[in-house]
Symmetry: C2
């Protein structure tokens, strides 16, 4: 019930590094953030508006180069404090919604072939994502000296570690089903 919108923290976190537009924020979420959080325009713009009302972010004069309106947001001191307080708070909910696993868990109602196909679809997606993560990793390792990059690096490592575990599991699963 208490306001607990995590998208606010994603936005504040991104703005703690750079001034950004809502559109920029969306792009970053679809990039490296997407491995542990998601967000649509329909959640980003309203959140941005409310954060501004609260005084956690402020508008910089937009409309420099061509294009349309374009509103560049910047984090305020209050916004930084809210972000820090959230990072310090040990409570964290790690919610997984694995529809693939669920389909497998209840796979008994269908055929073995269907189960194998579901594993295959999952595996293809993971392989594609793993490639992306490995590119991120190679790029970041060239700039690891910069303080903030360490944290980004750790999340990449997390993704790689878990995705490799998924692939190992896909192989095991195939053997068990055979």
């Amino acid at each position: 019930m208490a306001k607990d919108r995590k998208i606010d923290m994603v936005i504040l976190g991104l703005l703690s590094h750079d001034d950004l537009t809502g559109y920029d924020i969306k792009k970053q979420i679809d990039g490296s953030i997407r491995f542990f959080w998601k967000g649509s325009f329909g959640s980003i713009y309203p959140a941005l508006a409310e954060l501004e009302k609260q005084g956690s972010v402020r508008r910089l004069k937009g409309n420099d180069s061509g294009g349309r309106e374009k509103i560049i947001y910047s984090i305020t001191g209050q916004g930084k404090e809210i972000l820090r307080a959230w990072v310090r708070d040990e409570k964290a909910s790690n919610d997984l919604k694995y529809e693939t696993l669920m389909k497998l868990f209840f796979g008994g109602v269908e055929s073995k072939e269907t189960a194998l196909r579901n594993i295959e679809v999952f595996e293809e997606q993971i392989k594609a994502d793993l490639k992306v993560l490995q590119v991120y990793k190679a790029n970041i390792e060239k700039a690891l000296d910069e303080e903030d990059h360490v944290y980004f690096y750790l999340t990449i490592l997390f993704g790689i570690e878990t995705y490799e575990a998924y692939l190992k599991w896909c192989n095991k699963a195939r053997k068990v089903l055979a």
Copy 2:
């Protein structure tokens, strides 16, 4: 927009094995299902009511042994068909919401000690869950001959594989931060 309530599939899936009450369903979700899906009473009871209206589940006479009302639900032929169609459908959304990772990703705004503490909290939770999974695994290996148990077994293996990867990552992360 189109009705897409996955909790319906959890319920139908569980009922495809046994007749259950809403309370029983909740217990099972909090048990082995919780590693890939969650659900509260506030979502289970209304879903059950709607599934009944649609003809996917039906009420068995309740109130056998003492206790209160107690409504036992059973899956219908139509419910089984809906469940099978969903299992066959290759589309699956695997949505992760890792607040721990997000806190780490934006950890640069706080101290290294805070980041390490967040990793520690995560690790403790994973270790506890891993123990539970290993108990499940030992139990299921005694009854692997039964057809449906194979699918359950695979989800347990998935949990163990990924949780071990998380623990490996925790150790790596500590080294990187040191």
